[in-house]
Amino acid sequence: MARHKPEPLVFELSRPGRGATAQYPAAESADVPEAFRRRQPPPLPEVSELQAVRHYTRLSQLNFGIDTHFYPLGSCTMKYNPRACNSLAMLPGFLGRHPLAQAATGQGVMACLFELQEMLKHVTGMAGVSLTPMAGAQGEFAGVAMIRAYHRGRGDLARTEIIVPDAAHGTNPATATMCGMKVREIPTLPDGDVDIAALEAALSPVTAGIMLTNPSTLGVFERRIVEIARKVHAAGGLLYYDGANLNAILGKVRPGDMGFDVIHMNLHKTFSTPHGGGGPGSGAVGVGQRLLPYLPVPVVAREGERYRWLDERELPESIGRLSGFMGNTGVLLRAWVYMRILGAAGMRRVAEYSTLNANYLLARLQQAGFDAAYPGRRASHEFILTLKRQAREQGVTAMDFAKRLLDHGYHAPTTYFPLLVPECLLIEPTESETREELDGFVEALSAIRREAETDAAAVKSAPHTMPVRRLDDVRAARQLDVAWKPAVA
């Protein structure tokens, strides 16, 4: 990926009267009445089909993807997205089906969705699953809304507070606010576990629940989870499991067995549906017995050999509908294909080999002289390096390392998250990478550190081989340019 002449905007390729005319339907004279008509045609580009194909092909080539590069973006589980998942989800019978078509014409897709619901129940240890949330954050919303509905259903209106550890994903507190809850943050101990004393102090009759990620965003397993669950339940609260890191424990330990009442799963992480440059995700939710009546609708039911959707009429206490139809069905089909190909043993191997890869990479990096943020702890499927020593001694930051990695042909790990570890890289190699790829990554990070000692400026000015150098984010926000506008004639 060499520096290049910038690819023009598609609008700059446009010429009046040009078009991909093979895509036009036959001309019709029908129109909307005069009073409703727009005065100017919309400012859309006019390009040939080849121009469009070449333009978007060239744009694609400016990206790193899993298919082209090792992409160890922590907390995002950037593993191989099997091509079969895509091609089978796009079979014509699945692809052309209207969501409101009669159930008789949807038995095939519903059979897949029902099996998916069942498999997800078993891998999470939950009593029921709804597939409708369209991303992890919407799954979180569903979870907290169910917790809220549960307390209200019992007439307990005082419970308006959600406890969130300071290491949590930003979506956790944002979700609690969206559900009308107040957020109470608790600290993490130096070893990465939740501060139980602080938790006890936070628990009260206004506690609605706690949101936890386990393994946490610090890449370690919360060892006292059973004690935490007992304390939260004793205080009348419920436990929410953020499934962002489910990959680490798939088939080895189940959130339901840990004492969680509700969980969301990121199917685009753990079950390998594509990340698509920022979605679509899928945030299926699972619940224990207590929350079953509140699951978002619709859910698939099997009656004998037939499948049908259950909606608000059958589940009147449901928190309702979160998507216009039944969630990101095409994503769900991809997850179904993945799970059927993996099977029960394959799912356990996901946890085993992602954990093996993470611990191997951590061990090699530590042996190469890098500092782990939690050196006494076993890594889960991801781990944190802290570069505060390098920042202090060479003035080279985690961001500099991240940018220089791009020049070495590696996507950067997650940087500056979690917020409580200074100069951190959150590294998640996933199970689908070879040992050689991990070794190459260690070499690259080591080479950057050597370079930082001899030529810090080269690291600080990286990347050098990308289509652009570091971008001016301040200018982007101050001189806001977020849409191309046609020149005024």
Partner: protein, 457 residues
């Protein structure tokens, strides 16, 4: 081992490096009592070939019926290049462009998409997608409450001509924050909101009114009059639009005096297959003065350290990973892949192609209403201009008719009995540019045969 590349030699070498004996030793921090030895209830692995066969059988069982149904999801022709490009690994397997320098493709596509959506709506700015049209409407209601600082009521007028599923979603998502969504009835003769009926709300603190265009019945609302009413009464305007007819229709940014404040909808008709309901792609555009209240990702154009133009995520101070509990929304991952499909689709169609699609939709729907209206016991419920859907009144319950049509490979429309019982036996039908006159004849004769049978007792 599917999708795991390790040889036994790799495993040995790696465990030695870590200094443990077995992979299971790596799980030693998890309390033993919690660990399970096997996953119950999950089937055994199948090779790709076998899963392909199973999926093939199921997809074939679902068939490829003729769709005459819309109600929020629309069958349109998808140009072959769209998904050939979207499924390129560099797009399909990338993530949110956190590393802008290695994501210029995705970021430029976001910027082009935002430009197209803003242009279609005649709005200043667009975000880079929300989940779907229904959740976009919910987010628009929450955004209006934040944006309208003088209004204290958090009260939104939600006409009953807005898609009922979208209204349900808006209720579920806004309920926790105490929004009040007041139903506004429609005029029984025209199937649209009578602007005069809003007089009942004059003088009250209304945060915003939702204006659907076209509305759920396919009818065109008097968006100009409704927008003027909102302006005069201090309410914001949330447009809930189908983006296809915007090729022809007055855009939300130009409604009434000064235009709508927020426009939202589903861009599914742009290159996104029906796929049993998703993934689709919610869009949202707004006036510049509201941009800091907008949820979702936004790409901006800037320059790099050498002055070369480039793209980056911007206004991130609105978002959950920075603002946490004070963010505009919890949204994080959205619908990037479908946003890309919509962008490529619009680039291929351009203004002329999109206008042709919109005109063909109107023409085929007129044909459909005429053909079905000739059958005994069938008549159009509403007069007045419409886009590509229409309500038909029938002389008997709709559900059994739809079942019998489905058995003949025809999805005949959406039964309005549940959501609009006051309409009696009413059916919402749709024809896009993908329906031919011959398709319409097939439907009309099948419905004619079904109606020819005696009514069920």
């Amino acid at each position: 081992m599917p999708y795991i590349p390790h040889t036994s030699d790799d495993v040995r070498t790696m465990l030695d490096r870590i200094g443990v004996g077995t992979i299971d030793d790596l799980f030693d921090e998890i309390p033993k009592a919690l660990r399970i030895d096997a996953l119950e209830g999950v089937p055994d692995a199948l090779p790709e070939m076998d899963v392909a066969r199973l999926a093939g059988v199921r997809a074939a069982a679902d068939g490829q019926p003729l769709n005459f149904i819309g109600a929020g999801a629309y069958e349109h022709h998808i140009p072959a290049p769209v998904w050939a490009l979207v499924t390129r690994g560099e797009i399909y397997s990338a993530y949110t462009p956190y590393q802008a320098e290695a994501s210029q493709g995705t970021l430029q596509i976001m910027y082009e998409y935002q430009s197209m959506i803003a242009g279609l709506n005649a709005m200043d700015v667009s975000n880079a997608s929300l989940y779907d049209g229904a959740s976009a409407l919910a987010e628009a209601c929450l955004m209006a409450v934040r944006a309208h600082r003088r209004s204290k009521s958090a009260r939104i007028l939600m006409p009953s001509t807005v898609n009922p599923a979208c209204r349900r979603v808006a209720r579920a998502i806004t309920e926790g924050q105490g929004l009040r969504l007041d139903a506004v009835p429609y005029d029984a003769a025209t199937g649209r909101i009578d602007p005069k009926s809003l007089a009942a709300y004059a003088g009250e603190d209304i945060t915003a009114i939702v204006v659907p265009q076209p509305n759920f019945f396919g009818q065109l609302e008097d968006a100009d009059a409704l927008t003027r009413w909102a302006r005069a009464n201090g309410a914001l305007v949330i447009a809930a639009v189908n983006p296809v007819p915007l090729a022809l229709l007055s855009p939300p940014g130009e409604w009434g005096d000064g235009g709508a404040d927020i426009s939202c909808g589903d861009a599914q008709p742009f290159g996104v297959p029906l796929s049993s309901g998703g993934p689709y792609v919610g869009f949202m555009a707004c006036r510049m003065e509201h941009v800091r209240q907008m949820p979702g990702r936004i790409a901006g154009r800037t320059v790099d350290t050498e002055g070369t133009p480039g793209f980056t995520l911007t206004l991130q101070a609105r978002e959950q990973h920075i603002r946490r509990a004070k963010a505009t929304s919890n949204i994080c991952t959205n619908q990037g892949l479908l946003m890309t499909a919509a962008t490529i689709h619009l680039a291929l169609l351009g203004p002329a192609g999109l206008a042709r699609v919109a005109r063909a939709c109107i023409a085929r729907t007129n044909d459909l209403v005429a053909a079905l209206g000739r059958l005994p016991g069938v008549r159009a419920a509403f007069a007045g201009p419409r886009f590509h859907e229409a309500v038909l009144k029938l002389d008997r319950p709709v559900a059994p008719l739809l079942e019998s049509l489905a058995a003949e490979g025809i999805i005949g429309g959406f039964d309005l009995a549940r959501d609009y019982p006051e309409l009696g036996d009413a059916l919402l039908v749709c024809a896009t540019e993908t329906r031919t006159r011959a398709d319409i004849e097939v439907y009309a004769s099948a419905l004619g045969r079904a109606l020819g049978r005696p009514k069920a007792a």
